[in-house]
């Protein structure tokens, strides 16, 4: 067994960072020259090395994919194995099997007599370069010494780089405690009749202030922990909840009540149902059929696909909608040899806007429906119109922005597309479409049926989805378990339960009553004369729309909305005129704000995941922001305008 270490093979002197664009042959000449300069080869050997490297590539490319290549040769008159690292930020065409140009080239040179040893070194270099954490760092690094250390395993990240996230978390929690103490001790619920009736004056007592500080600290620490350590979000939710219980801020009964079990049950049932519809290929079938009317013009097809994604998001949910339409977009872009990026950005942004169309488009819609006692018809009357108008506006804008990139000389054969998308059993699709229509009718009619049956609000809503889940399990027999297990994202469902309970604790302890009071006062600062006596409501609406929108761009929209729901409840209870409109500002802010950054909504992450898997390319944060900022500002401004009109002229 050949015993070696990579530090014996490489040297920091033999690491070169180049910024000049070069061809493969030029790189070989450059490397041979450097080897001669370093006296590793003689003048006579320069041409021998270049020729051997070229011959090696002729046998087969040494590119391993992912932007790396390991050219390796043996030659005479050498007595040791040595390596040479060449990095160039300008990509070099290398005929790699994945079709990608290379940026990092690690050369290996060995004497002919040491063939077996050199194979071991080659294997070790390939192993190290294929460790994602190493390759990523080397590709970003421009310091030859650090690249050498990364490859040879001697690189030690600085203490700060290693533990910065933990420090951010600790400092963040300390800052939250200080701010919570200052804010909640300073702000008092005013001694007004309405607050006395609501029993809010107790929140000024020291015992409640302590509870408020604990609840606020734990809620925001959970949000901070989720942001910094997303994989462990359930752990942060659970820890925050257990500390609330141990500190005596809430009892078990209240905690379970605040978990909003009906909301959770509805989300779970919808997830199972959607998984079944997806499995049957219903949505794919419907979208492909609908696209047949638009395939003549690439721009029209692009616009139509965005529109369907928007509608589908409202009818099912944003994640399912984007999964279906992005799959079709990938096929269209491959077939027409056009760039996928406009499709990806356009579809996700239309989907996020569409997720505010109805009650079921987004988990925040479901949460708001149960928390604010809103019906499906309330959504149709309020958010649907705003979402549709906003979607039309941004679809037009995105088509205009990307008009040159979308046009293609290759015609789209929709029949070929249909065959590629593999439409499944048509009988099963018909059955699933019937179930889907029944679901839509019952969900639309739920408030009427509840009145007619004299049952509690949202009973029919919940009963409908539960009945459909029952039907799915019975019909699918053995496979029923598959839909129950794979349909809901159980990890997320558990996180939602903890999040709802933590957020509701802010209401229980009176934190949101104080925030609502501050927002009420802020609403009086800028008098809006054109709004008449609704000036304060208009300002509060605008504050909530923009704060939920901008925060949702950086934090998941559900924690933002969950924290603001009790604030809206308190604002309504405080007697703010026409305060019910605030539910819609929360919903629209939460959904539209998801377009701001690539982490703003689950649909964004899902679409990027599909893109990265299909194209083996990374999507950059900046690339998203360029369009995200424009679209978010335009959609929030437009929605703000429409909401103000609605506030001013509605009865």
């Amino acid at each position: 067994m050949f015993d070696f270490e990579l530090k014996d093979i490489f040297s920091p002197d033999l690491v070169f960072i180049d910024s000049e664009p070069k061809t493969q042959k030029e790189v070989f000449a450059f490397v041979a020259d450097k080897l001669k300069e370093k006296k590793l080869i003689s003048d006579n050997q320069v041409s021998e090395v270049i020729s051997a490297l070229n011959s090696r590539e002729e046998i087969g490319s040494t590119g391993l994919g992912k932007g790396i290549a390991i050219p390796h040769i043996t030659f005479k008159n050498s007595n040791k194995i040595f390596g040479f690292i060449y990095k160039n930020d300008k990509s070099i065409e290398w005929q790699s099997i994945d079709g990608k140009p290379v940026k990092l080239i690690v050369f290996l040179f060995a004497p002919e007599a040491k063939r077996q040893e050199y194979l071991s070194v080659l294997a070790e270099v390939a192993r190290v370069l294929n460790l994602p954490q190493v390759l990523e760092k080397i590709l970003k690094e421009n310091d030859p010494l650090k690249i050498y250390k990364l490859l040879t395993g001697e690189y030690e990240p600085s203490f700060w780089a290693k533990y910065s996230k933990y420090f951010y978390f600790i400092f963040g929690v300390l800052a939250i405690i200080i701010l919570a103490k200052l804010f909640l001790s300073y702000v008092k619920v005013p001694n007004l009749e309405i607050y006395e009736k609501l029993d809010y004056l107790k929140f000024n007592e020291p015992v409640w202030i302590t509870k408020e500080i604990i609840a606020t600290t734990l809620f925001f620490s959970m949000v901070l922990g989720t942001l910094l350590f997303f994989r462990y979000r359930v752990a942060f939710g659970a820890a925050a909840l257990s500390l609330l219980l141990i500190a005596g801020v809430m009892d078990i009964e209240t905690t379970v009540k605040f978990m909003s079990i009906p909301t959770i049950l509805f989300i779970v049932a919808v997830m199972i149902m959607v998984k079944w519809f997806e499995d049957k290929g219903v949505f794919q079938y419907l979208v492909i059929k609908a696209l047949k009317y638009f395939y003549g013009s690439p721009l029209l097809l692009f616009g139509a696909l965005m529109f369907f994604s928007c509608i589908l998001a409202g009818l099912v949910d944003e994640v399912s909608a984007i999964l279906i339409t992005i799959g079709i977009a990938v096929e269209i872009s491959r077939h027409t040899k056009t760039n996928i990026i406009p499709y990806l950005l356009g579809l996700v942004m239309a989907t996020n806007v569409g997720s505010a169309l109805t009650l079921i488009g987004n988990p925040i819609g479901i949460y708001l429906a149960f928390a604010g006692k809103l019906t499906f018809l309330d959504f149709l009357k309020n958010s649907t119109v705003i979402s549709i108008l906003t979607a039309i506006l941004i679809i037009g804008l995105i088509v205009y922005i990307y008009r040159k990139q979308i046009k293609s000389k290759i015609a789209i054969d929709i029949n070929e597309l249909e065959s590629k998308m593999e439409i499944k059993d048509k009988k099963e699709i018909s059955l699933a479409i019937i179930i889907f229509i029944i679901f839509v009718i019952l969900v639309i009619m739920h408030s009427f049926l509840e009145k007619a049956l004299r049952v509690e609000e949202r009973t029919v809503l919940l009963a409908t989805v539960l009945a459909i889940v029952g039907f799915i399990v019975l019909r699918e027999e053995e496979r029923g378990r598959y839909f129950i297990e794979k349909g809901p994202d159980w990890w997320t469902v558990l996180y939602f339960m903890f999040l709802f309970a933590n957020a509701a604790c802010l209401e229980y302890t009176g934190v949101t009553a104080k925030v609502a009071h501050i927002i009420m006062n802020a609403g009086q600062i800028l008098p809006l004369h054109f709004m008449g006596n609704l000036s304060q409501s208009a300002n509060v609406l605008t504050i909530l729309l923009w704060s939920s929108g901008l925060l949702s761009g950086f934090v998941d929209n559900l924690p933002v909305v969950a924290a603001l729901v009790p604030v809206v409840k308190d604002l309504i209870a405080s007697g703010l005129p026409k305060a019910n409109i605030l539910w819609w500002s929360l919903l629209i802010g939460g959904c539209f704000g998801g377009n701001l950054t690539m982490i703003g909504s689950t649909a964004n992450l899902v679409a990027i995941g599909v893109f990265e898997r299909s194209y083996r390319r990374k999507f950059s944060f900046k690339q998203w922001l360029k369009l995200g900022i424009i679209i978010t500002l335009i959609t929030l401004l437009f929605a703000n305008f429409l909401l103000l009109i609605k506030l001013r002229f509605s009865r």
């Binding site: 992912k66 099997i97 294997a123 070790e124 083996r616």
Partner: protein, 121 residues
């Protein structure tokens, strides 16, 4: 030329079962090792052996006049679907042990998504 993706597992089996089926005039071979997702679950030594195996097989194929490339992928066999699509592969040759790592409900998904012929060894 048909593009053949050969997922390397045991060198002996490849020599005895796969090589007789390949023809250097008709097949372009892409060798790949499907490494574990995390280096913790597989020892460094095992990974190193796997790489060495890949490179020595390549040398052998090349000596026999085959056009060979190496590409690597980590994780589940589902990740091979991307490679199949990227290089428009015609045949995927997979060790049966790798195929059997799929859960019962994943077989159908894998076969549906795979856009080329599949051969197990």
């Amino acid at each position: 030329m048909l593009n053949v993706i050969l997922v390397v597992n045991e060198e002996k089996l490849i020599k005895s079962r796969i090589c007789p089926l390949l023809n250097k005039e008709q097949h372009k071979v892409v060798l790949t090792g499907l490494l574990s997702q995390s280096s913790e679950t597989k020892t460094i030594e095992e990974e190193r052996n796997q790489w060495q195996n890949l490179f020595s097989l390549r040398e052998e194929f090349e000596r026999n006049g085959y056009a060979v490339s190496i590409i690597t992928e980590r994780g589940s066999v589902f990740n091979l679907i991307n490679i199949v699509q990227t290089i428009s592969a015609d045949i995927l040759i997979l060790p049966k042990e790798k195929f059997l790592t799929l859960a019962q409900d994943e077989y159908e998904d894998f076969l549906t998504q795979l856009s080329c012929a599949l051969m197990l060894y």
